[in-house]
Amino acid sequence: MTEMTEPDGAAAHVEGVANVTDNELVASIVDGIEGASVTEHRYASSETIYHMVAVPVDSWVAAVSAAKERGFDSYVDLYAVDHFAQAPRFEVGINLISMEANQRVLLTTRVPYDAPSVPTLTDVFAGANFYEREAFDLFGIDFPGHPDLTRILLPDDWEGHPLRKDTSVGSIPVQFKAGSVDL
């Protein structure tokens, strides 16, 4: 398991900006959660700051619930990433907003290939329902506790999970069928 530490000298896109940044609020989400790390990012062409918080999967529901309690009660998005060669393989991220504090936080977690299972967030945010189904459909990540974990975008009898990196994009070679047109 790779150790997650605070990245050194923030990435190239973080610049010193004055405005709305509330590191304390975000740090309080991960109070008591071990192995969490927080990075700060800024929007392009904008002064907006947001944070990404990486937590281990065992504290996934706890971290998201803590965020919700601290005011991040607006659900925005849930997505999955397949890092393939970089273990742990799958990443799941949730995007939340606190409208009162005008803050955004992206909480992420990683799960390995042989146990791609992330506890469901449908009890915390009702909106996670379709998004977790999509992650299951396209990546094969399991969400135990989800009320209706079926495919959503692909036909029900589809085999495989197309957005995984070991599945090809499925393009077919262009067939130049000989044809003639009487003009």
Binding site: L154, W158, P162, T167, G170, S171, I172
Partner: protein, 161 residues
């Protein structure tokens, strides 16, 4: 005009022409708008580029009342059986116009999710290229199809008389 004796007589030829004329002048499309091309199709039917002046007065929701199926947009693997079912429900004579690049060949999306050309699922009479084809292109395609029906070049989409 070829030898008269081998062709049907004057009355039948005129009747056939009359039937073809009637078919082209009120060819009602079935609404099968899928994606971006559907927006341009709706724009073609709206006031600015009025499709009703060519007889396509209404877009029939029920395929049983429609003559022309304009497949406007990208057909995904999940949609293909639905497309075929709607096509089969249309009564003869019926024609299919494949609108846009995605319907004709899969367009820019050469991947697992799309049927690479709607002619894998239904027989197509007219292909209209574009991404999306503007109203003028679509009208050109529809009018060319109407011309072909008028000439008798196409009887109906399956070629069966």
């Amino acid at each position: 005009m070829a030898g008269v004796s081998s062709e049907p007589g004057f009355l039948l030829t005129t009747l056939e022409k009359g039937v073809n004329w009637a078919r082209t002048q009120s060819m009602w499309p079935a609404s099968f708008g899928l994606a971006c091309c559907a927006i341009e199709m709706m724009g073609t039917g709206a006031a600015h580029n009025d499709l009703a002046r060519f007889g396509m007065e209404v877009f029939r929701a029920s395929p049983r009342q429609a003559d022309l199926m304009i497949v406007a947009g990208r057909v995904s693997q999940k949609m293909a059986p639905v497309l075929r079912q709607v096509y089969d429900q249309m009564a003869e004579p019926k024609w299919v116009l494949s609108m846009g690049a995605c319907a004709s060949t899969g367009g820019m999306f050469n991947n697992y999710a799309l049927v690479q050309g709607v002619d894998q699922v239904v027989p197509v009479d007219m292909y209209v290229p574009g991404c999306p084809p503007g109203p003028q292109s679509l009208m050109h395609g529809i009018l060319s199809l109407q011309e072909m029906v008028m000439d008798g070049t196409i009887r109906n989409s399956t070629g069966v008389v």
